[in-house]
Amino acid sequence: MTWKQLFTSSLGKKFTMAFTGFFLILFLIVHVTINACIFLNDGGQTYNTVAHFMSHNWIVRFLEIGLFAGLILHIIQGLVLWKQNRDARPIKYYSNKPEKNSTWYSRSMGLLGTLLLLFLVMHLSHFYVGTKVALYGGDQPHNLYNEMRETFSYWWIVAAYIIGVIALFWHLMHGFQSAFQSLGLNHKRYRPIIQAAGLGYTVIICVLFILMPLAFYFNWLA
């Protein structure tokens, strides 16, 4: 058993998806917590302080490399799986009733993931690029809170973010518990807990994220 065999086997690919998935699940907790500082309603003071720390602290910057590596691995592995799984059935069924045996979102992870990737391109161009330009080129202190207010003053951007978070919701609804199963963590006593935790996590993360563009658009914040 070489390392290459492990990582290229069907099960190895599941492990990669699960490990990187877990990593991204943890990242979202950090992301949503920091962004939720806008709800302190202090004109973005706390939020901008934390955002400044995140963009300047070298440990965070180092972890950021890991985040992108994990994200890219998750995307590439997902595309490889999508192609291999499509090739495993060259002739499709004439009559098929998958709704009788599985949920639509568990069968649509590739589609939901693609939507998320498109969303990410837009999201990074909105906020990540601006932060980096400010970090390396700007002499003014970067006010990310005002940048959010500006970005979310357009209804179509708010609509795009809501669609993005809905895609994230269904992706997590399957992905959270699926990652445990892939790593072999399926136990009669813990499974209901994992499923409840997955539902709780997904709802909390997505509701908080969706409230952010809405809060700016409808001027709920100072």
Partner: protein, 254 residues
């Protein structure tokens, strides 16, 4: 249960051999009893075809009591038809009503090539079993059945896994054409018992390697396999195989 008769239209996949492209043929059958099994209805249809000088439809069947796993038919969009935990031979015509049109297709998977009509080659499963689905037993007298203590729960779980009949419905229904429910049942059945211990690591590694070689897809945990399995094999077995594989691939020095 009410007994009734029905007339049906059948849309059946016909394919001369593995090289031919194949197409659907429409047949009608009349006066079918609700107490017939689906295969008996096919027998009636084949009699009809033979009498009119046509080639009967080739389909796999053997025990006709739900334990051999031969009767592979994708009926109206589900393996073994609309009933849960059921094989085609145990699907009875009372599942249908007069005037229904029923679509019957073979299993669709790159690893299960169609041999003729509804018959597919499930040799890929045999080769996976050959790769590791065995235990080594010394020659000589058989060991006394109760000499080796086995935890009751583990014995039960191993028995549940062993009830897999290798029909291939899991592969047929999986959107990815993955064979993981089958392979995990075979791995679990032996990994749970002391008799399976000597080959425990090499078994899971070799069976998964063979599964990948056969061209099956990868599992994405939709759990369609468990829902369609005629024996109700649990996806907990897939999790067990994942654990076994992770442990074996990280720990094995081979």
């Amino acid at each position: 249960m009410e007994h009734y008769h029905m007339n049906l239209t059948l849309k059946v996949w016909r394919q001369k051999n593995s090289q031919a492209s194949g197409n659907f043929d429409t047949h009608s059958v009349k006066n079918i009893s609700s107490e017939m099994s689906f295969l008996e209805m096919f027998d009636v249809l084949n009699e009809q075809l033979i009498e009119s000088g046509k080639e009967p439809i080739a389909f796999d069947h053997d025990c006709r009591e739900g334990i051999c796993g031969a009767c592979s038919m994708y009926i109206d969009g589900q393996p073994h038809g609309p009933w849960q935990k059921n094989t085609t031979c145990q699907l009875h015509m009372r599942a249908f009503k007069d005037g229904d049109t029923i679509v019957v297709e073979p299993w669709r998977s790159k690893a299960f090539p169609v041999i003729k009509d509804l018959v597919v080659d499930r040799g890929a499963f045999d080769r996976i079993i050959q790769a590791g689905g065995y235990i080594s037993v010394n020659t000589g007298n058989a060991v006394d059945a109760n000499a080796l203590p086995i935890d009751k729960k583990k014995a039960d779980d191993a028995f549940d896994a062993a009830s897999c009949i290798g029909c291939g419905a899991c592969v047929a229904t999986c959107k990815n054409g993955s064979a993981m429910l089958f392979v995990s049942a075979k791995v679990s059945q032996l990994a749970l018992l002391p008799q399976g211990e000597p080959e425990r690591q090499s078994r899971v590694l070799n069976m998964v390697a063979q599964m990948d070689k056969e061209g099956f897809g990868n599992c994405t945990n939709t759990y369609a396999c468990e829902a369609e399995c005629p024996k109700g094999i649990s996806v907990a077995n897939i999790a067990r195989m994942n654990r076994e594989y992770l442990g074996a691939s990280l720990g094995s020095e081979d």
